[in-house]
Amino acid sequence: MAMATKLSIKALYKIFGERGDEAMRLIESGKTKDEILAETGATVGVNDVSVDIEEGEIFVVMGLSGSGKSTLIRMLNGLIAPTSGTITIDGDDIAHCSDEKIREIRRQKISMVFQHFALFPHKTILENAAFGLKIKGVGVAERNERARKSLAQVGLEQYADSYPEQLSGGMQQRVGLARGLAAEPQVLLMDEPFGALDPLIRRDMQEELLELQRSLGKTIVFITHDLNEALILGDKIAIMKGGRFVQVGTAEEIVGSPADAYVEAFTKDIDRSRVFPAQRVAKPAEALQKADLVAPSALSAMERLGRDAIYVVENGKPVGVLRYRDAQGALQNAGGDCLSALVTSFPKADRKKPIFELYPLARKGLPIAIVDDADQLIGVVEPETIFAELAGDDETVEEEAALKTAAE
């Protein structure tokens, strides 16, 4: 997939308070946020953040309360002006453009879902959802229809004529979500958009969001407190502390090699099977070519590898799996022709699939074929590995990973 940078953030700082210049100097001399607050009374909101966010990517920002997440996301659409640094969207500098330009960008490209909902109490749910479209100048019939659609997406179309105060917190949050979606922006800024939702709806909304991103290629900046959520959603995850990004990476990188103790503390209670993709625990396929397939060599290969089944490929694509006892049977009964003994309804998974999703496949008792986007076999995962993984046996993952690296 060809990626273009959608949002580019360079050396971004935000300091709240009067003595900003002084605080900047102290930052340069390496003082911490707390020291600067004590010395100057200025609060460091965001401290030297640089990152490129690619088009169609979900970029998750995580961090403890007060680490500067909301400040950062609100600079991205110009609600807060940075103390220094630049933010560009498609090459336009948000921090240093005219009011007219920034309004244009907000109407056409970016919308926002607020941490504390910020619904308009005097407008109905439908009017709230249609707000962005109204501001853009979309006619009343069309905007109501589109707003209804996005209310349906969050499951609230039957509340269209209610007022925000008549809805529960979680429902209000979903209205905020619908308002953000209805504007059909290219970039969605979401400040803890699922914070007030119960776990079931939260899952639904996460699925919805992933679907949106996959089907419409939206770029999403997503703030959360919940690392599990970050890992499920994030193509890239940034961990923030005291206004800084302490680590930016994929879910795997964050969990697999935390940059420091702070990140490690975050990742401690993580369900690794949700984070690591299948390829991480896959072992080399050692597959046999369909053209050369004969029972004796197949049997000896399995014996050599210590496996009781082996994959057979044609042009790199898996066509079936041969079990040890089937190969033996073929040798005795069919005179060594094993093609008919191949199991062709074999379990197969994309290499990016999280491990926990392989569980239903593992129940067949056959090794799982791990393929890439072009359906090429790149490895296999034994059912035992999956079961061990789901039993919460960390060691296995590490061992398998180590094995895999060693094998490469």
């Binding site: 609100r74 056409q108 707000f131 962005g132 853009k136």
Partner: protein, 311 residues
């Protein structure tokens, strides 16, 4: 006994006379004339119109408005009060007073709401405006009459202008307050979707400030009513004139009748404008002092009240 006047006497009154008569009036007479025009126009037409409307129709319309805004009890009260006014022979005076009040309030809205909005948008403007409003509200209402008479002469229109100036501050103040009190996160949300300042004003600030603005309107109206008698001193007609002539001739009955007319009008207008404000606020009725007062008065002036919004 020593007195500073032995040393120096300042002919202050003469100076003011010279300034106003010698400079202000001749130089700006056209300006003041022009300012009178729209007030005069609205006032004349309203007065003619209200006096032409038959009692029955007027009572029916105002009764209906009272019913929709302040409830059934208030509607009955309104009709009875209007009947009483007609029976004591003050209908025409009441209509004149009403047209003065309406004219004054219309101009207060036209001037006050934009000024209030401007004050809410600019701290600097507010800091200039605030002392002026303070002075306007501390000057006794009689004192207004002097410059008004000098600049505008005597008659109903100068009376209305005095009323406008006197009644203007609350609507400015409360428009400013209402807009400034709109939650910051809602303004942010509106901005985040690309609203222009004008869109923010119309979509978010004004609707959310409406209740406060209505409270300001109510106060402005009450101040305007309180100027009715005073404006009569410089030649304005209506119920104020009735009271004044009654007082001048020591005719207790006439003065009291005029006074009762004013009070009845005040009650009707107060309850209707309060009702307008409350119709908009939907649920939380008990927050304002006004709300409390109105609920205290409710048993006296009306029974059940419809809570339907007046749409």
């Amino acid at each position: 006994m020593y007195s500073p006047a032995d040393m120096l006497e300042i002919p202050f009154a003469d100076w003011v006379d010279d300034f106003v008569r010698g400079f202000l009036v001749p130089t700006f007479r056209p300006v003041f004339r022009a300012m009178q025009e729209p007030v005069d126009f609205l006032m004349q037409n309203l007065d003619a119109f209200l006096n032409a409307v038959p009692w029955l129709i007027f009572a029916a319309v105002l009764g209906l408005i009272a019913w929709r805004t302040a409830g059934r009890g208030m509607a009955i009260f309104t009709v009875l009060a209007l009947a009483f006014i007609d029976m004591i022979g003050l209908w025409s005076e009441t209509m004149t007073t009403l047209s003065m009040i309406i004219t004054a309030v219309v101009f207060c809205i036209v001037l006050g709401v934009p000024l209030g909005i401007a004050a809410a948008r600019s701290d600097k403007f507010l800091s200039i405006l605030r002392p002026i409003l303070d002075i306007m509200q501390t000057i006794p209402s009689f004192v207004y009459l002097v410059p008004i008479v000098m600049l505008f002469g005597v008659g109903t229109v100068p009376g209305v202008i005095a009323t406008i100036i006197f009644a203007l501050p609350p609507i400015i103040r409360l428009t400013n307050l209402g807009i400034r009190n709109v939650r910051g996160d809602l303004i942010e949300a509106a901005k985040a979707f690309g609203s222009t300042p004008r869109q923010i004003l119309w979509e978010v600030q004004l609707p959310l400030a409406l209740r406060t603005i209505m409270a300001g309107l109510n106060q402005t109206l009450m101040l305007a009513l309180s100027m009715v008698v005073i404006a009569a001193l410089i030649g304005a007609g209506g119920l104020g004139l009735t009271v004044n002539t009654g007082l001048g001739r020591l005719a207790v009955g006439t003065a009291t009748a005029g006074g009762v007319g004013i009070v009845l009008l005040a009650i009707i207008l107060d309850r209707i404008t309060q009702g307008l404000g409350e119709a908009k606020k939907r649920t939380d009725e008990s927050k304002s002092v006004k709300g409390t007062v109105s609920r205290l008065l409710k048993p006296i002036f009306g029974g059940s009240r419809s809570t339907e919004p007046a749409e």
